[in-house]
């Protein structure tokens, strides 16, 4: 091998390595100038149930650790999400709980690209089923009867069951949520609309805090 090919080889190796380092940091512009309205929240959907009081005989037949005075059968609610930007519908979507039986918490995560500027955002998230699930449950004659004494369960156990059902109801997302807000969408900025479980309402976060 003479000197010239060797020199060319060295130069080529250097050029290849420099090319490699350049390709390692190639500028990539995936976003353009648009802003993003991000809808992201997680919440427990309401249960739509038909509940009844179990009799003492029924409870006696169950293993001790499986005894619950109220037996409920039902499903979880379906919600309708609609988003309007300056009175124009930009998203309509049906939302259900996760899992095959839709009994897991519902998750929402959508990025909507919008032109930068000022506008009014309206987000409506409402239960589709007309049956007022929580009201139905509270009004259930059997459930109203849950103070009835049962020989099969002691008071502490009955109280715990009641507390669990109450907590489940309180943790569920309200049947209807609505948000209307004037927003400034800056170029390549993200505005997040999420559900605040403590306030039980939709809130806007723009990352400025």
């Amino acid at each position: 091998m003479t000197g010239v090919p060797r020199a060319v080889g060295v130069l080529l190796a250097i050029a290849a390595t420099v090319g490699l380092s350049r390709a390692s940091s190639t500028p990539f512009s995936p976003h353009g100038e648009q802003a993003v309205l991000r809808l992201a929240w997680t919440a427990r959907p309401e249960r739509i149930e038909d509940c009844r009081q179990r009799s003492d005989e029924e409870l006696q037949k169950l293993p001790a650790h499986m005894r619950q005075s109220i037996a409920c059968a039902g499903t979880t609610a379906t919600y309708r999400l609609e988003v309007r930007w300056n009175d124009e519908v930009i998203l309509q979507q049906s939302v259900r709980g996760g899992g095959l039986r839709h009994d897991r918490p519902l998750y929402l995560f959508r990025d909507i690209r919008l032109p930068p500027g000022d506008g009014t955002i309206v987000v409506q998230f409402a239960r589709v089923e007309s049956v007022p699930a929580s009201t139905h449950r509270e009004n259930s004659s059997d459930e109203r009867d849950e103070g009835r004494q049962s020989m099969a369960m002691n008071d502490a156990r009955r109280r715990r069951e009641l507390e669990e059902r109450t907590r489940g109801r309180e943790e569920a997302i309200p049947p209807s949520l609505s948000l209307e807000r004037r927003l400034h969408l800056a170029s390549r900025k993200v505005v997040l609309v999420t559900y605040d479980a403590e306030r039980r309402d939709l809130v806007v976060i723009d990352g400025s805090h």
């Binding site: 091998m1 380092s21 990539f28 991000r38 997040l192 999420t194």
Partner: protein, 519 residues
């Protein structure tokens, strides 16, 4: 279709190999050493990675990396070297895969190496992915979001992973801890897959020549110092960066998948990986075209172990023989045999080899070759490997050479060389592939050992070595082969004209003699 692509790829490979041989010599040709270069890069990645991990904090990922990157003594160049070495590993892996595909070394007994190689490439990309996420800059965030979108298409997690990056709450430290765990664990898993990758090879070459290894590291270190990394902005869920400094080696898919839904992107990537892994099923030769595995003639086998030692794929085992004087006999595992024929070249009594290519078959073919009226006394016979020099037989013939093709230099029995010389050839020039580019791994090595270093099935001492020459030339090196031929011709022409010598009957020496009848 794939076979056409394979042929085109082979042509491209011949041109690039020849060019690289001219620049770097066949011994240091990085294209031949692509697989071993990946190992060197892997070792450098482990070394630099162990250093970097000392400074990484899962509670403050971007800040800790930024602090490290700002330090010119301990951080900047080490991090750059870590990154560039991983990029180079991707390139070298691609070159290696391309070579194996072009040379048809992906199917049959080599399918395991192909599939495990595909897995290694996938793990390398996955490891790079986790590495970039650990930095938690805009590029890392983008990779994390893309990965989460695809991962969420699978019904694994109770809560979508993508919600971690919405900005609703800070990304938890546990995410970086798990990512770091994966970034360390994946290379360990690669070690296991690498063992599978080379499992079917005997005497695997793991490292390139030292000069090439150090040159590779030196080039990367130099560019790491000369072109240090610049920290990209910290990931921010509420700001979309105008420009993301993307690494094309690890994120080449991102411009495409970014426009697709998570499920579609995942399906596309999965289909790509599967297509790569099952490629051997489409490129393998049909029943008519498929080379047959070696067979052993148990009546001839002396149980000497030589074929078992020389087989580059560990396809020959010595097993106990019943009712014979010799305790052992060679046994070929057809599932491991790639039909290279190296065993045929290693067997002195010519009792093993692929059908039609055993030592005895070679002698018969050479008898026919010598009987041709075209043969002239004293002419040079150029024995060309079918995978290399056979491509320019006509150019050699134009120079006056009598050309004779062999499937692999290692397949050529030394008795064939002797027979050519005794048959009146002035000299025998064996044009092998460069040793690191032998399709059967060790053909040129064993032939050289047999001709010059008395390895079993050696070229007999009575043969004049001045009339035999072994020259490695690649498929694209026609000019070099012609020059080698001219040089050999000039050297041989200074020797006295050979006489046809039939006094030693090579065929008779290798007469089929049952082992049990031998004294």
């Amino acid at each position: 279709m794939l076979r056409t692509i394979e042929r085109l790829a082979l042509r491209l490979l011949a041109v690039t190999d020849a060019a690289a041989n001219r620049l770097y010599s066949a011994r240091l040709n990085p294209l031949y050493q692509s697989g071993t270069i990946v190992v060197v890069l892997y070792l450098s990645l482990v070394a630099t990675g162990l250093w970097l991990i000392l400074f990484y904090r899962v509670g403050a990922p971007w800040e800790s990396v930024a602090r490290l990157t700002a330090n010119p003594w301990i951080g900047t160049w080490v991090r750059a070297l870590h990154r560039y070495a991983s990029d180079a590993a991707v390139v070298a892996t691609l070159v290696h895969a391309f070579r194996m595909f072009a040379q048809g070394r992906s199917w049959g007994a080599r399918a395991l190496a192909w599939v495990s190689g595909g897995l290694l490439a996938f793990l390398l990309l996955l490891c790079g992915w986790t590495g970039y996420v650990l930095v938690w800059d805009t590029f890392g965030e983008r990779l994390a979001i893309e990965g989460a979108r695809m991962f969420d298409a699978l019904p694994f997690l109770s809560e979508p992973l993508a919600r971690t990056f919405t900005g609703e709450r800070p990304v938890p430290s546990v995410f970086f801890f798990v990512t770091l765990f994966a970034h360390i664990g994946i290379p360990l898993g690669m070690g296991v897959v690498f063992w599978l990758h080379i499992k079917r090879l005997e005497r695997p070459v793991l490292l390139p020549p030292r000069a090439l290894a150090w040159a590779s590291i030196a080039c990367l270190t130099a560019v790491s110092i000369a072109s240090p990394l610049v920290m990209a902005p910290r990931a921010n869920a509420f700001a979309l960066p105008e420009v993301i400094p993307s690494d094309v080696f690890f994120a080449f898919w991102m411009p495409v998948t970014g426009r697709l839904s998570g499920g579609t992107a995942l399906a596309l990537l999965t289909a790509g990986v599967i297509a790569f892994l099952v490629l051997p099923a489409f490129t393998k030769r049909g029943a008519d075209d498929k080379p047959l595995p070696s067979v052993v003639d148990e009546d001839i086998c002396t149980g000497c172990f030589q074929c078992s030692r020389d087989c580059p794929y560990g396809a020959i085992q010595m097993i106990e023989r019943a009712n014979r004087r010799s305790l052992l006999v060679a046994h070929v595992d057809p599932d491991l045999c790639v039909s290279c024929g190296i065993c045929a070249g290693s067997c002195a009594p010519m009792g093993v080899g692929p059908p039609g290519r055993t030592g005895r078959d070679q002698l018969a073919q050479i008898q026919t070759f010598l009987a041709s009226p075209a043969r002239r006394p004293g002419e040079i016979v150029a024995v060309c490997c079918a995978h290399g020099a056979a491509a320019y037989r006509s150019a050699l013939a134009a120079e006056g050479a009598a050309t004779y093709a062999t499937d692999c230099a290692g397949n050529l029995h030394t008795s064939s060389i002797e027979m050519l010389l005794r048959g009146g050839a002035g000299g025998v020039l064996v044009l092998t592939c460069p040793p690191r580019d032998c399709w059967n791994r060790e053909g040129p090595k064993w032939l050289t050992e047999r001709v010059y270093h008395d390895r079993e099935a050696e070229l007999q001492a009575r043969v004049d070595r001045a009339r035999v020459r072994i020259v490695p030339v690649a498929a694209g090196e026609c000019r070099e082969a012609v020059l080698a031929f001219r040089e050999f011709l000039a050297d041989v022409s200074r020797l006295a004209l050979p006489m046809r010598d039939r006094s030693v009957a090579i065929e008779a020496e290798c007469e089929r003699t049952p082992v049990g009848d031998r004294a």
